[in-house]
Each structure stands twice: as C-alpha cells, then as structure tokens.
C-alpha cells in the first residue's frame, strides 16, 4: 500500500477515533446531567448502609452511637464512590480509565467464576453471543449470497416473486415473536427442544456433553434468527446484484460474447461486492452486541441480556460505560477495516 493510500486512511482512523470520544462524552453527559449516575451511586450507598445498620443495631445499643458510625461510614463510602465530587469531575476520570482498557469493576453483576471485573464479565458473555448471533448471521449470509445471486439471474421468475413476498412478510415479523411461536411448537407441543436457558438441569458432565447440550439449547434461537432474516437477506443481495446486472457494461460484455460465468464473476459480482461486504462486516460487528429481545425470549445470558440487566436490575454504571465503549469500539474498528478493504475491492477508491 503506497503512502498516498496510508495518509487518508490515517485521517479516517482519526475521525473514527473522534466518534468514539464523542459517543463517550455524550454518554457521560446523559448519565451525569440527568442525575442518573448520582441516583445509581446513592442507591448503592444506601443499600450498604442499610445492611450495616441492621448488623450494628444488634451489637451497639446506643442509637446515637449507631448514627455516628453510620454517618462516618456514609462519608467514607461517598468519597470512595466519588459522590463528594460533582459528576463532571467524577465521570471523565472513569471514561479516561476506560479508554486505556481499564474497564473497572462491576458492583452487582458477577461472572460465573465470581469475578467482578467488567472485562471478565464481558469476556464470559461474548462467546455465548457469538455462538448465537454470529452463527445465525453467517448461515443467513451464506444462504442469502447463494440464493440471492442465483435469483438475480432470473428476475421476475416465480421463485423471485415468492422471495420478494416472503421478504416483505418477514420484514414485518418481529424475531422475538417468531421465537415465542417456535418455543410453543417445538418445546411445548412437540417437546423435542428446550424452551430456553443454556444448559439442562442438572448440567451434563464433561466438555463434549456440555457443548452438545449448549448447542441443543442454541438450536431454537438460531433457527428463529435465520428464519426471520433469510428472506430479507436474499432479497437485498438479489436486488444489489440485479442492479449491477442491468447496467450497461454488462450488456456490453454480453454483446462481446463473453461466457455467462465470466460475466457473472468479473462484471457483476466484482462490482456488487463492496456494498455486500459492507453489509456483512457491519452486520458481523453488530452481532457482537447481542440481541436483547432474542436473548430475553430464550433466557440466553449473552451480551444483550447483560446490557438489559445493567438497567433493569440494579443499575451498574461501570458496566454501562464499559459496554458502550466496547460496542462503539467494535463499530469503529469495523468501519476502519472497511475503509482498508474498499481499496482492494473497489478500484475506483483511490484516496487523493
């Protein structure tokens, strides 16, 4: 790659880095200015003091002494949580730490091994989400590409019409509801697949049996995701490819008498590749964030559920900030990867 290409990419990298900073600043502003951050921390301090008060009242009889100890402890806790400082002094420090990949510690949520480090919690859940969502996306993309490209050679055929209607219908089909229907059919009526969760109770012994059990539990959510997204996926790829197939240079290629296979590979797919790769890479990056709804329906403890749990249960600021940072970072990295890939995929892209 020549230096004439390197410089613009570095400029892009810098602007994407700016996006990351802006997102974090916006997050800090929303958490801080609304008083949400203070509320979360106050609730945690309150919780700890309540527990302390009950245990103290058993040993210390004098109520004034209890109050005194509590007040001292409150000041101590508020200082350690940073509540004695305003949010605009406290939160930037947290964000600065996150930027050097120190994600801090969670207060209420823990990983399976008991670790309360946010990084451990995220790393525990990431593979589960990959297993569910990334797998489904790869299956969908594979079928979508094969069938979509095939359909683009027969526009207006019966198969083409069927696919466009299926795509229209599944576009309006909420995946979470489809998941509920599949649970009803496969789990309640046919009783052949588990309705949710990740492992059976009791969990099977040994890594192989354990993985098979996990895969069995993943089957229904993956089926749901693939069923719901397959129609639109085929349709989008078909339309993108068809748009290229109808353009003039393809007609010229045909007029020159080039073999159909060559035309498809060199004149159609090569041109249609950049937008398809863009969709695929951004889609893959998005799967790492998990799916809140699907993970909720199938009680799958992945990234989506983690995000939802940080809000719905006891809100946990370090996880909120850590997840937002991670999601944005993944997106930014994917965009950067695309910028580099475009150079190879699309000869027209020559940064000057």
């Amino acid at each position: 790659m020549s230096s004439s290409l390197l410089r613009p990419i570095l400029v892009r990298a810098a602007s994407l880095g700016a996006v990351l900073i802006i997102v974090l600043v916006l997050l800090v502003l929303t958490l801080g200015a609304t008083g949400y951050s203070d509320n979360i921390l106050q609730a945690q301090v309150g919780e700890e003091l309540r527990g302390m008060r009950t245990s103290l009242s058993e040993t210390v009889k004098d109520p004034d002494a209890v109050e005194e100890i509590i007040a001292a402890r409150r000041a101590e806790l508020e200082a350690s949580y940073g509540l004695d400082r305003a949010w605009y002094e406290r939160l930037p420090a947290v964000v600065a730490q996150v930027l050097v990949f120190d994600l801090g510690e969670a207060r209420s949520i823990r990983a399976a091994d008991g670790s309360n480090s946010v990084a451990d919690i995220i790393l525990e859940r990431l593979p589960r989400t990959v297993m569910l969502l990334t797998t489904s996306l790869l299956i969908t993309a594979f079928i979508g590409l094969t069938v979509g490209v095939w359909l683009s050679t027969r526009p207006g055929s019966r198969a083409d019409r069927v696919v466009s209607y299926v795509a229209a219908i599944t576009n309006g089909l909420p995946a979470w509801w489809a998941g509920i229907l599949l649970i009803l059919v496969f789990s309640f009526w046919l009783r052949i697949l588990p309705s949710g969760g990740m492992y059976s109770t009791p969990p099977p012994e040994g890594p192989v049996a354990s993985f098979l059990d996990l895969a069995r539990h993943a089957l229904l959510p993956i089926l749901t995701l693939v069923l719901v997204s397959i129609g639109p996926s085929i349709y989008v790829i078909r339309t993108m490819t068809l748009n290229v197939a109808l353009s003039d240079h393809v007609t010229v290629a045909r007029a020159k008498g080039l073999p159909e296979g060559l035309i498809r590979r060199r004149h159609i797919l090569r041109v249609a590749a950049p937008p398809i790769v863009t969709g695929l890479i951004l889609g893959l990056a998005a799967t790492l964030g998990g799916s809140i709804l699907i993970e909720t329906v199938f009680a799958w403890e992945g990234m989506g559920q983690l995000y939802f749990k940080t809000f719905s249960g006891q809100p946990d600021e370090s996880i909120i900030i850590g997840l937002t940072f991670m999601f944005t970072l993944i997106y930014v990295a994917a965009r950067l990867l695309l910028e580099v890939l475009y150079v190879f995929l699309d000869p027209r892209v020559r940064y000057q």
């Binding site: 929303t30 229209a168 219908i169 909420p174 649970i183 309640f188 009526w189 939802f308 719905s312």
Partner: protein, 473 residues
C-alpha cells in the same frame, strides 16, 4: 409522477390490492374502536381488576369448540323480574329462577353470584342461593343478609348501589361442605369438604357414575335466588349468576380474566397512531434535512451527512432502553427518540435525489427565470421526490410499530396505554408459553404482523412506480 397514476399503479398489483383492502379494514376497525371504547380504556377498564372479576381466567377462544374440544360456554344469567312472588306478612318473598343447560363433559370453571342496588326501610333483606340439579338434588350455595342500618343512618337504606355484592361461590368453604353433604345424602357417598374443595365444580355438576367416581351430570340446572323482603317498599334491582366457561369470546382471556379481544381491539388505533405519527414527523425531518443538505452543499452538507452517518449506525433498541430507564416510560418520549434516530436513511437518499435534480434542465430554467432557492426547492425539486418520500413514510410505519412492540415486550411500554407488545409481555412474563396459553401470545403477534404487513404491501406496490428500474412486466 402524478398522484393519481401512483394510486392507479398501486391498485394494479396484487400486493397493492391486498394492501389497500387490509388498510381499509384496519382503518375501519380503529374508527369503530375509537367511537365505541372510552378513551381512558387503559386505566379505567383494562388495568381495573374489578371489571374482569366475572370473566373466566386464562381460557381459550370460544371458537376452539369447533375444533372438537369439549367446552363449557360462559353464561351470565341476569334477572330483574322475579319469576315468582309470595306475600308473607307485610313483606314478600321474591324467587328468581335462573335456568341454564349443562351438556359438556367438562365442568364450569367457577360460579359466582352478584346483586345490584338494594333498598330497605326496616329490616335488611335476607337472601339465599340454591343450585337445583337435574337429578332433583339441591345444594345451598349462599345464605346471607344485606348489611343493616348504621348508627344515625336514616331510612330508606340503600345498599350496593356503587359496587354490587359479589360472592365467588366456588371458593367458599361452606359451598364445598354443602356440596359434600348433599352428594353424600343423595348417593350414599363418603365425601369430605376437602375432597370437594379440590374441584368444586366437578362435584357440583357431577354424580357418581357406574364405577363410583364422579361423572358429569348433564341436563337443566337452575340457580334459585330467594330474597325475603320485610316491607312492601323494599326492593332489589337485579341478581346475576355467572357460570364460568372453559372458553371465552373471540380471542380468549388472560390470567386475570381480561377479555383479550377488547384489549387487542383497543391496541389497533394505538398502534396505528404511534406508527403514523412517528413516521410522519420522521419523514418530514428526513426530507427537509436531505433537501437542505443536497441543495445547499458545502459545510451544511458535510455536517448533515456526518451526523446522518453516525446516527444511522446507532443501535436503536439499546438506546431506547437507555433513555427509558433514565427518563421513565412515557409514550411521547419513546416516540421522540424513535423520530430523533430514524431520519438519516431518508436524508441520505433525498440528498442524492436532490443532487441529481439540481442539475436538471427544469431547475436550470427556473433559476434562469429568477426563482428563489426556496421556490426551486418547493416547486421544482420536492414534487419529484414526493412519491419516493411517501413510499418511505409507509415503509417506516411498521418499523415504528415493531420498535414500540419490542420495547413494550421488554416491559418498558407506557403503562397508561395497553398496546399489543404489552399484552404479549404480560403473557410471556407470566409463563403463557410454558403453560400452553397460545391464544395469549399468538393473537397479539399476529396483529402486529398483519398491521406491519399491510404497510409493507402498500409500499411494495408503490416501489416499482417510484423506482422504474424495478418495474416488472
């Protein structure tokens, strides 16, 4: 593209015909709902357990009977005219005979008795309810007296004028005892009250079969209500006896007895309003920004496109969840956020259309004649983008409806308005899927899909008109 030809093209395709038909049905139904339902349906009826007390809990729709299921129909027997009156002393005894047939092998889910406004002068009326069975057996179900005068209260005394007196007969231990006694005496059995209490209606509507266990007893039953009124002026307005069915209505009921058909019917105008309102505002914003961006160019263009690029890639649901938890679940807020994060797609597309149109001869001519920038945008550029923008608006409605449903499904819907997503959430959270209450989760989802599909079909029918490259023959 003229408006009329767009319309004609839509009606020419199958998708368009189906879409328009469904649309008319949806609009007609929501108009009907808006005219017949109270606007405070949510808090006043849907979330008010008292309204649904006399409905069977978690039973499937009535039409499941057509599939061969053995069902007990839900029957509400009400009377305000006594079938028989006998004078007694100064007062009288009124007898209300409420007859009903029981032909199913299943037993009713519950029996309840209620009565409306009672007036008395001197002594409070006494009443009894007895179930007369086809085998001649009679089971006393209730014996009670209306509450007497309070100190310093002046006659005539009015009772149960605000809330009717209501007794859920099948959960009373006296009823279980009375049923056991009556069956023991008539059939020489050895039942205890707790045997009956396990399934009171099976005993009330059963008799020992050839094998000695209780079998369903078919025939005509009568709930006989006797009211003893002490003075001629005393009166009782109405009595009601409810035989809880094992099926109910068009769409069944949920676990608190709510008629799903009513909740889902009310959800239709709500869904349409949410979808159309948010889609319209978002389309207006998206189009204006797109036109501005495309026509102005320069720094404005760059700024809008960068913003669109960022907002376009923000995952909507996590963001909605974030804001709902920070600011609370209010519908206007949810809609505002949906609007705030959904304009970029249209902005990018409108901009590219405007860029193409700006160089057209029409715009050049208008400019040469001295038209102002605004005039050119409104008169010479917007009309060309209009059908496309309109199609996008229609595409956007289901997206809003689905987003709201998803949010409600997570339990973050506005609690003052029952929506389809909330009904689904109710069902899923209380385990309807695992208990097999399919009617509770299938029908709201089907309605969401049907509504979304209607708009999709309309947009699909419009697309070839708007984008001639997609036109097929």
């Amino acid at each position: 593209m003229k408006r009329r030809s767009l319309w004609r093209a839509v009606l020419a395709s199958t998708a368009g015909k189906v879409g328009v038909t469904l649309m008319l049905v949806l609009l007609g139904t929501s108009l009907l709902v808006l005219l017949t339902f109270p606007l405070d349906f949510g808090p006043a009826r849907w979330s008010n357990p008292a309204v649904w007390a006399d409905y069977p809990k978690a039973v499937p729709p009535a039409w499941t009977a057509l599939l061969g299921a053995d069902v007990v129909e839900h029957q509400v027997l009400e009377s305000s005219e006594p079938s028989e009156t006998t004078e007694r002393g100064e007062g009288r005894v009124e007898v209300y005979d409420l007859d009903f047939d029981h032909a199913a092998d299943a037993a009713p889910t519950f029996l309840s008795f209620s009565l409306g406004p009672v007036t008395f002068i001197e002594r409070p009326p006494a009443l009894s309810v007895t179930l007369l069975r086809p085998d001649g057996m009679s089971v006393p179900l209730l014996r009670t007296t209306i509450r007497g005068p309070r100190p310093a209260e002046e006659p005539p005394y009015l009772r149960h004028d605000q809330t009717p007196l209501r007794v859920l007969l099948t959960s009373e231990s006296e009823v279980a005892q009375a049923t056991a006694d009556a069956l023991n005496e008539a059939y020489d059995l050895d039942l205890t009250a707790s045997d009956v209490a396990a399934d009171p209606t099976a005993a009330l509507f059963g008799a020992p079969g050839p094998d000695g266990t209780l079998a369903p007893l078919h025939g005509q039953y009568t709930a006989q209500v006797r009211v003893a009124l002490a003075s001629p002026e005393d009166s009782i307005d109405w009595v009601r006896f409810v035989v809880g069915g094992t099926v109910f209505g068009l769409l069944g009921t949920d676990a608190s007895g709510r008629d799903l058909a009513q909740g889902l019917a009310f959800g239709l105008p709500v869904a349409l309003l949410i979808g159309i309102a948010a889609a319209t505002v978002s389309t207006v914003i998206g189009t204006s920004l797109g036109m501005l961006s495309g026509y102005r160019g320069g720094r404005v263009d760059l700024l809008i496109q960068r913003a669109a690029d960022v907002v376009n890639n923000v995952p909507l649901l996590p963001l909605l969840i974030f804001f709902v938890f920070v600011f609370g679940a209010q519908l206007w807020l949810i809609l505002l956020l949906l609007v705030a994060f959904s304009w970029p797609g249209l902005t990018i597309l409108v901009r590219s259309m405007v860029l193409g149109l700006s160089g057209s001869q029409e715009v050049e001519a208008a400019r040469a004649m001295g038209a102002s920038g605004r005039q050119i945008l409104v008169r010479h550029i917007f009309p060309h983008t209009a059908p496309y923008v309109f199609t996008q608006l229609i595409f956007f409605v289901p997206a809003v409806i689905l987003a709201e449903a998803g949010l409600s499904f997570l339990g973050l819907g506005d609690p003052s308005l029952p929506t389809w997503g909330q009904i689904l959430e109710d069902g899923f959270r209380t385990g309807a899927v695992f208990l097999g209450y399919w009617w509770w989760v299938v029908s709201p989802g089907l309605l969401i899909v049907l509504t979304a599909m209607t708009f999709m079909l309309l947009a699909l029918a419009m697309e070839p008109v708007v984008n001639p490259r997609l036109r097929r023959d």
